[in-house]
Symmetry: C2
Subunit: 202 residues, 2 copies
C-alpha cells in the first residue's frame, strides 16, 4: 500500500491528518505537482481526474478522492472513530463534513484555483468566480463562529473528519489573504485547539 | 420521520431514488422553493444552509445534505447495498459518487445556479463561471462514455448511489441545454437502463 502525496496541496493534508489521528503509517510517494506529473498520462492511469491524493492498494486498486480514502481506513480500523459511531451520528458527521467541504474547503480552493497563476493553463479560470469564493469563505467563517458557540468540535463533542476538512480549508484560505477575525472567539478557540493536536503537523 | 422535499429540485430527487431502490417509504413535506420558504428563518432552524432535502427524525434531529441522508438509510437498512459492500468497495463507491458529484452534478447545478433568473438575488451569480460549468458537464459526458465501455454501472457491476448522482446530474443539465450525444453509445445504454428502473420516477 502507498499514498501518492503532495506535501503542499490541501487535499492530501486531509488524509495525512486522518491517518495521524488513527495512528496508521502508510508509505508516501511525493508527486511533483509543479511539473504537473499528476496530470500526465502515466498518473492518469491511477486516477483519470489527475488529482491527489491517491491510495494504491497491494492488489493494484487505486482509490482517489480524499474522503473515499479516509472511508477505507475508517472501515479497516474503526478506532478512534472519525466518521461517526452509529447510524444517526454517521449521518450527522457526513452532513457536517459536507458543509465544511461546500461552505469552506471548496470555496477556499476555488478562490485560489480560479485566479492563481499556478492553475493558469491547467483549468479554465474565472477571477470573477474566485472572488465569489473568497467572499463565501469570509461569510462561512462568521457563520461557523456562531455554530461553535455551542460545542467544542464541528460535529459535536468529538473530533471528526469535519474538523479536519474545516482546518485544511481555513488554513489553505490564507493563500487568498483570509484570516480568522480575532473577534471570532469561538472559531479562534476551536482553531487553536485543533491546530495544537500533533496530527495538524502531518 | 419526514423528508422536507422539493419535487422540482435535483438534490431531493437523489434521496427519493435512493429510498425507492431501498423500498423505504417516508412521508414527504413539500417546501415551496419558488417562494423561498427554504431560505426563511423558520426553515433555517432545521438547516442553516437553507437547502433541501432535510430529513427530520422523530427525536427532532434534522439531517441535511443528500448523501448524509442516504448514509442514514444505508446504515439502518443495509439491503440492497447502494454504498458498497466491504471496505474496498465502500471506498470505491464513495470515490465514484464524488467523481459524479464534482464532474457532473455540481457542474450541472452550477451551470444553472450561476446564470438562471431563478437564483438572481439568492446567490452571487457569475455567467462566466456558469459557462465554465456547462463546458465541464459536456467534457465529463465524453469521459464517462469511455469509462462505461468496460462495465454496466458507474462503480462496477452493481447499481449504486454513484448512478443516482450521475442520473440526476445529467437529467438536470437539460436545463442548460445539454443532452447526451447519440454517438456516446455506452453512456446512452447506461442512461436508458437506469432511467428504466422504477426508482427513476420517484
Amino acid at each position: 500500500m502507498k499514498l501518492y502525496n503532495s506535501s503542499t496541496a490541501p487535499n492530501p493534508r486531509r488524509v495525512r491528518i486522518f491517518l495521524a489521528e488513527k495512528g496508521i503509517v502508510v508509505p508516501f510517494e511525493e508527486v511533483d505537482i509543479v511539473k504537473a506529473v499528476n496530470r500526465g498520462p502515466e498518473f492518469r492511469k491511477k486516477n483519470p481526474m489527475g488529482t491527489l491524493p491517491v491510495l494504491e492498494l497491494d492488489d493494484g486498486t487505486c482509490i482517489a478522492e480524499s474522503v473515499a480514502i479516509c472511508r477505507y481506513f475508517e472501515e479497516i480500523q474503526p478506532e478512534p472513530p472519525l466518521m461517526g459511531t452509529d447510524a444517526k451520528d454517521r449521518a450527522l458527521v457526513e452532513m457536517w463534513n459536507r458543509r465544511m467541504e461546500f461552505e469552506l474547503f471548496e470555496a477556499a480552493t476555488g478562490a485560489f484555483r480560479y485566479r492563481h497563476e499556478f492553475f493558469k493553463g491547467r483549468i479554465e479560470q474565472s477571477p470573477e468566480y474566485a472572488e465569489i469564493c473568497r467572499r463565501h469563505v469570509i461569510a462561512s467563517l462568521a457563520w461557523l463562529d456562531s455554530e461553535l458557540a455551542s460545542r467544542p468540535f464541528i460535529a459535536g463533542d468529538r473530533f471528526t473528519i469535519a474538523d479536519i476538512t474545516a482546518l485544511c480549508g481555513i488554513d489553505f484560505s490564507r493563500t487568498s489573504g483570509i484570516r480568522i477575525d480575532p473577534g471570532q472567539k469561538n472559531l479562534s478557540r476551536w482553531h487553536a485547539a485543533v491546530s495544537a493536536r500533533p496530527s495538524a503537523k502531518a
